[in-house]
Each structure stands twice: as C-alpha cells, then as structure tokens.
Symmetry: C2
Subunit: 153 residues, 2 copies
Amino acid sequence: MKSLFQYNWKIRDEWFQCLELVPITELLKERNTGVGSIFKTLFHIIDVEYSWIRALQNKTDLIFDINEYKDINSLNVLSDELRIEVKEYIDNWSSNLEFEVVTPSWIDRTYYKGEILRHIIVHEIHHTGQLSIWSKEIGMPVVSSNFIGRDLI
Amino acid sequence: MKSLFQYNWKIRDEWFQCLELVPITELLKERNTGVGSIFKTLFHIIDVEYSWIRALQNKTDLIFDINEYKDINSLNVLSDELRIEVKEYIDNWSSNLEFEVVTPSWIDRTYYKGEILRHIIVHEIHHTGQLSIWSKEIGMPVVSSNFIGRDLI
C-alpha cells in the first residue's frame, strides 16, 4: 500500500516537471471531460488526497481556492507542502487500522480506513490516466505510468 | 492488494456493460493517443494482465490476436475466460511471495513478484482513466472510478 502512494507521488512529480514547459493557456484550457483542464486535474488530485488524509485523522477538512494558484510551480509547492502531513500518515499506517471506521465531514456515511486508503490510490492513477490523453493531444511528452522499473519496492 | 484486483475486475465489467450500447465504429475509431482506440485499450488491459500473471507463474506467454475479436461481447468472453487463471493466482497470493524474483520472457531483466502485482493494478486503472475521457467525448455514461461505496473490503 505504501509503495502505491510512493508511486503516485513520483508520477505526480514527473508530471509537474513535464508541465513546467507547457504554456499556462494549454494547462487552463477547458477540455469538457474529467474535471475540466490539466490544471484543475492536478489541483483536484492534491486536494482530494489531502481531504481524505485529514478525514482519516478525524481532522477538519481544509478548503483550498484554486484561484490562488497561478502557475504549475505554485501547485507543485502546494503538493510538496501537503505531502508532509500525508506522508507522515502513510508512513505510520499499519494493517490493523484497515477496519477502523471514519465518517468524513462531507459525506453522511462511514467508511473503513482501508477502503479510503485504496480510494485515494486509485483516484490519482485514474486522473493521471486522463492527463496522459490530453498531454499527447497537445504534443508534450507523456509520463510513463509504469510501476516496474522505478525501484518502488 | 487482492481488493485492488477485485476493484479492477468490477470496473472492467461495468465498462463492458456500458460499451455494449456503443456502435462498434466508435469503439474501433483511432483516437491517436493511448493505445489507439477504446477496443484496443480493453484488449490491451486483458492481454497485459494475463501476460504478467503467466510470467508470475513462470509459464510461457500466450499470444492473442485482436483481429479475432469482432465485438465487445467477444472481448468480455475473453476477459471472463482468462480471469479464471488470474483470479486463482491472486486468491493464492501471499505477502511472502513479494520478493521472489521473476524474469518475464519478453524483457531481459528480473522483477520482484510484488512489483509486478502492483504494476498490473496501476496499468488497468491508468487505461480506464483514458477510457473515461473518450467515453465522455462520445456522449456515453462514464463508469465511476470510485473505490469507496463498492463494498470491496
């Protein structure tokens, strides 16, 4: 499980690196699928991961305003900042937490912690799959989605 | 880990169900990103999962010819057939296999079994993320990528 988080962070950092070279107009362009644009997708990935990690700790959800982030570097900084708390939680994860229950503040039902952890993992992979379509369409290099060959375990 | 395979199979089956209603011309249409078309993507997901599961068992890779599959139902049948062997392997997976090494017949290097298992998982999620872009573009319902709410653990 931990290595799948490390995978997501590595892939996300590679996307940030690739997207630095892409004009901001392309990043903001509404694509009418997924959550709308490359920029919104990256913001959404960061925001959703952090919200769930807060919920797993029974902490209040913190709201971020996408309009405060003006370029890819500012999103990268946000990602790095929030990753400190996320990584601490994941580093301390143990399988005996799997069936503890959590009630996120924004949904009127409970989930197992193990269920939420897997949800966070698949959420990011799903959205970076979408990025791979758009990036190829605009002629930029696509980040490899390979887990193998990254020395993650 | 097992629940992430169950997730992928559930999502794949939901895609098959949704795509039954889509004209074959849309499924075969070359989209010039990813592996090329919706049909090729589904074939690729099935084929890659099975190849790696065979490699994990030190069995020879079996080659399937996409031209033998003419509609979405025939791909669904292939998926169900191969899933029997895949599921048996996953059901018998245990964490003490994580660091056993495997040399797939088609790559001149070794991998840990745990590394391959995670690679199979992320490979499918990545490609169904791509399907979600295309399906929305052609106006068909998008399969939810949520792990939560599916009673998978």
